[in-house]
């Protein structure tokens, strides 16, 4: 940390200069355009009470099909295989677990506005996983999001390290590659033991009936936008759940609302590393509803969001 702190110092000293901030945005845009297609590497993930090691492979074949494989290297065997962003296979110690594939393409949001919610600061050139990296700090301009430090590979733009901090500057989570290579990645690396695959459920299967109720957020922090055009309804054990996710380009939270048939479900608050979870039971004339707000936002923000949600009868 000693040199990165020196760079942070430099970033702080120059943060007053908007020209430097603009440069950081330009660098970020360039890096985003220069995404590497094929790479592999191993990385660590660390948050409160969790330290795990992982291996990942990313390969785009001749037809442009993007395949990704993620493998947890310690603890229970957990493996995810994705094709074009859709989860097609999960290896999990509990075969009864429910996994959904992702077939909700988000809206194509314009993240040029990021600078309205974060001050983008140039930290400097760093080195991660034996690669030269460029580090920038997204410092939030209000209390509804966390600071994020990202170190991106100079050649490929892939984020090789990211640190999420809380409002006191304490580390909430660390994601960091240990080795990274853009060579020798082939289709053979993407082979998963398909015998042990849990096939994720299609969200569209068993189209849920139209809900007789709808929910609304009474408050949304500035800069956050809904990811989907409308909230999505899906099912867990025949229970209909209405879900929408919101993002400001970096931070994200999701809202889940369910009509409650269980009598006695208590509200709770949890903090799983960077992720705040707030549940709230809402008793209305229509019945009881369970509201869950979950995301990498400060707990106070999640709490306020949960409190602002109102249920209405659908016409």
């Amino acid at each position: 940390m000693r040199y990165s702190f020196a760079w942070l110092m430099a970033g702080w000293l120059f943060s007053a200069s908007s020209a430097i901030a603009k440069d950081a945005q330009e660098v970020l845009d360039q890096l985003r355009d220069a995404q590497q297609e094929n790479y592999q590497g191993s990385f660590i993930y660390e948050r409160k009470d969790v330290f795990s090691t992982h291996q990942m492979w990313r390969y785009v074949d001749e037809s442009g099909r993007k395949q990704e494989r993620f493998l947890q290297l310690n603890g229970p065997r957990f493996e995810v295989f994705k094709v074009d962003g859709q989860v097609t296979c999960v290896v999990h110690p509990n075969e009864d677990e429910l996994f959904l594939n992702q077939d909700w393409p988000g809206q194509n949001l314009n993240w040029q506005d990021l600078s309205q919610w974060y001050s983008l600061q140039w930290i400097g050139r760093t080195r991660v996983a034996d690669r030269n990296t460029i580090a920038v700090l997204f410092a939030p301009l209000d209390a509804h999001r966390y600071p994020l430090e990202v170190h991106m590979d100079e050649q490929t733009g892939v984020p090789l390290k990211s640190l999420l901090l809380n409002e006191h500057g304490q580390l909430l989570e660390r994601f960091q590659f240990v080795n990274y290579s853009t060579e020798h990645v082939g289709a053979q690396d993407l082979l998963v033991e398909h015998r042990s695959c849990i096939e994720p459920k299609q969200l569209s299967v068993g189209e849920p009936e139209r809900l007789t109720w709808q929910w609304q957020l009474g408050w949304l922090p500035e800069g956050f936008q809904a990811i989907h055009q409308a909230s999505k309804n899906w099912e867990i054990n025949r229970k209909q759940i209405s879900n929408q996710s919101y993002s400001d380009g970096l931070a994200q939270f999701s809202v889940f609302v369910e009509f409650l048939t269980e009598q006695d479900v208590a509200a709770t608050r949890l903090q799983l590393g960077p992720t705040a979870v707030v549940t709230r039971r809402l008793d209305t004339e229509l019945g009881a509803y369970m509201i869950t707000v979950l995301g990498e936002v400060p707990a106070g923000t999640a709490e306020r969001l949960a409190l602002s949600i109102a249920i209405q009868e659908q016409e």
Binding site: V158, G169, Q170, I227, S247
Partner: protein, 198 residues
């Protein structure tokens, strides 16, 4: 000792990574006004990163000088061959100097933090349902105390089964929909993995 390498040592000290040699260099130069100004700037920078409005002015050099004077007095009073006990005493004084620096830095860095919280921030509360199934991993000393089980004592079966069923599914769904500003990152997968099989 160049000013640059001294400043690097100072930066290392702030990050808690300075070795004994570096600490000695800093202490030797503790009257150097440039070094003291740098110490203040480092703190101001860190403070600004946390977006704190007020920057308290804390200068530990007085305490350090006092501790060092004690060392000198001990050695001048007893110019004879150092015994084992005097060496123990010196170690103790040296430790107290270290404590004056590190303890002060710690106070400075953790003004809003109660004793016991450490590197990894945020308290981990365990959901009523997860509390029954979770296997608490070994907690490293520097990561604060073990996860506090704040589950209520009477958890109904409804509550338990609801949380056991919903939270992992919600967590997965949330992470599957996470995009970080169009960047290709494995972070959402890693976050999702952190609750699997636990």
């Amino acid at each position: 000792m160049s000013q640059t390498s001294l400043e690097q040592s100072l930066s290392a000290l702030m990050d808690g990574e300075a070795d004994d040699l570096e600490l000695q260099r800093i202490l030797r130069e503790s009257d150097n006004p440039e070094l003291r100004a740098q110490w203040q700037r480092l703190h101001a920078a860190r403070w600004s990163m946390r977006q704190e409005a007020v920057i308290p002015h804390i200068d530990l050099s007085g305490r350090i000088s006092e501790a060092l004077q004690d060392v000198e007095m001990t050695s001048s009073e007893k110019p004879t061959q150092p015994s084992l006990w005097s060496r123990v005493g010196k170690v103790a004084v040296a430790a107290s100097v270290t404590f004056a620096v590190l303890g002060g830095a710690r106070f400075y860095n953790n003004v809003n933090i109660t004793e016991g919280q450490a590197v990894m921030a945020s308290t981990q509360q365990v959901a009523p349902a997860l509390a029954h199934s979770a296997i608490n991993p070994v907690v490293l000393a520097s990561y604060g105390g073990p996860a506090q089980d704040t589950a209520t004592s009477q958890v109904s079966d409804d509550s338990s089964s609801w949380y056991r069923e919903r939270l992992p599914a919600y967590f997965r769904q949330h992470n599957q929909q996470t995009t970080v500003s169009g960047m290709e990152t494995s972070l959402p997968y890693a976050r999702a993995a952190s609750i699997e099989g636990r």
